[in-house]
């Protein structure tokens, strides 16, 4: 019981301290990781401070999973250092205070949900009660089912339950909502918010900007193994706040590119796609100059566009 008390004390003590000054619980320092010819991470640094939720945001193959696996001690870096809870993550002791939800293609299907939880609880010295895990991961009603019989969303919830059943201080969630429908995704978001409210430190990887925005105190954008930028969701969104304008027009692309706030102009079959910070001005100008303009769509910039904007803004950013 004493360990539980210590954890509560830690979170309470950490709260009044601004997150930027809270103690570092995990750190990748200038880490390079290569798999054969490909460099998964290139001099990448990341710090997690007590009580914060950090989203590692990037497209597939950006190096997000590699970062998580390094922090879990599943792999070791080619160069650079990894410290978790003041220790080398390969040190098994540290794991009793860590929970992880990894991307798994299959989980043993012939065990019931309740049995999986019972087994994982036994790995931790001070686990949450099984009933509590079932409540947190919203597994009521499916606890006695075989894992193999569950739907995709239910399976993810079980994996989430296994990640939190040891009452860890530090939780790694590797693409927790990938492949989920909107409803399951939102349900999992609520669960991640509850972790944050309980003062846990969470590292979440995702390729949805929206998800990072909804959950994280801090977003770290990564692509091709390199840090692109990091900041609060507001800071990041400010940098990728462009809109995407798509329409069929006779106007010259070069002229379009010269309009105020236009970041990029691309041709897409018969249409033109414009990325602009202030789409209202651009559209107003275009409509005035081209009466034949039709098929107009204005949408939020996709993450791919956001990455383009981020990289083209300033090649060597460090917020």
């Amino acid at each position: 019981m004493s360990a539980t008390a210590v954890i509560t004390e830690a979170t309470q003590a950490a709260w009044p301290v601004p997150l930027s000054q809270a103690r570092t619980v995990a750190r990748l320092h200038s880490v390079t990781k290569r798999y054969g010819q490909t460099t998964a991470l290139d001099k990448f640094s990341l710090e997690l401070r007590a009580g914060e939720v950090v989203a590692l945001l990037g497209p597939n193959g950006a190096g997000k999973t590699t970062a998580v696996r390094l922090l879990l001690g599943l792999i070791s870096p080619n160069s650079g250092s990894v410290r978790v809870l003041g220790r080398d993550p390969r040190d098994a002791d540290a794991r009793t205070r860590i929970g992880a939800m990894l991307q798994v293609s299959r989980v043993p299907e012939m065990l019931r949900v309740r049995e999986h939880i019972d087994l994982f609880r036994s790995y931790y010295p001070n686990p949450l009660p099984a009933a509590e895990v079932i409540r947190i991961a919203k597994l009521e009603g499916i606890a006695d089912q075989m894992f193999g019989k569950l739907s995709g969303g239910q399976k993810q919830r079980v994996l989430f339950g296994l990640a939190v059943c040891g009452n860890p201080d530090l939780v790694f969630l590797d693409e927790p909502t990938v492949g989920l429908d909107i409803e399951s995704r939102r349900a999992l978001w609520d669960e991640i918010r509850a972790l944050s409210a309980a003062g846990k430190t969470v590292l979440l990887t995702t390729h949805y900007l929206e998800e990072a925005d909804m959950l994280a105190h801090r977003i770290v954008v990564i692509n091709k193994g390199r840090l692109l930028c990091e900041g609060t969701p507001a800071e990041i969104k400010h940098r990728v706040s462009g809109r995407r304008i798509r329409c069929i027009t006779q106007l010259d692309p070069e002229f379009l590119a010269s309009l105020p706030s236009v970041a990029e102009v691309q041709l897409d079959r018969e249409a033109v796609v414009i990325l602009a910070e202030h789409p209202e001005q651009v559209v107003r100008e275009m409509l005035l100059r081209d009466e034949t303009l039709h098929g107009l769509e204005v949408s939020a910039a996709a993450l791919e566009d956001a990455f383009l904007a981020l990289t083209s803004d300033s090649p060597e950013t460090n917020a």
Binding site: E9, A92, L111, Y123, P125
Partner: protein, 262 residues
Amino acid sequence: MATNAIAVSAPRPLSLGYYARIFRKETHYEFVKMLRTKAFSLSVLGFPVMFYLLFGSSNRHNMFARYLMPSYSCMGVVSACLFGIGMGIAMERAQGWLEVKQASPMPRFAYLTAKMISCAAFALVIVAALLTLGITLGGVTLTAGEALKLAGVVLAGSVPFTAMGLLVALLVPANAAPGVINLIYLPMSFASGFWMPVQYLPHWLKVLTPALPTYHLAQLALHIFGYSQGGSMLTHWEALAGFTLLMLGAAWIIFTRSEAKA
């Protein structure tokens, strides 16, 4: 500073009870999982029983009814370990489940031990089934001492073949594992006297036989019932011990190499 106090507070040393509980639960659920996986449990339990019904009971009251009890028991433990451990670990590794376990505080030793004990338990069920069939359908008489000794040899046999299963799991991709294990296990069973006494094997095969771990296991089991080739049993124990060390050593080298590469 409260925060510093937390950073310094080392985790309490974990008690013996904590480890005992992990081992108990890991083994329990491993066994339940294997039992519920029909593809595994039906074939591993079914084949020795079916073979005995075909070849043991039809040789009622002659030496084969008696001979096939220990020899099929050996077949049972070898197949349980190679399929349960070789295929089991290969699949869990390929699916990413092993990584989830490695990321948890589960002691790695518990994972392998639980699988080994579960496979040994399957082997004991096979021994019990074969002895029952032998006594009832095969007309065999045997003493309690013989039955217990056979169970002991089969239990000991689970160690070298767990080691072999582990090596297979590390070397062979999961989708190829069933095929590769059958290619190892069936010829070895044939050449080691699991199906018929080695003296009836072709001469060229008899030369190879002493190189097989299955042969030494079979000799130990057959010796209990008076069917061994003769000679010192110690040699067979030594051969199995050596084979275990060889397999574990090779597995260890491959594992550390892949760790270094990972």
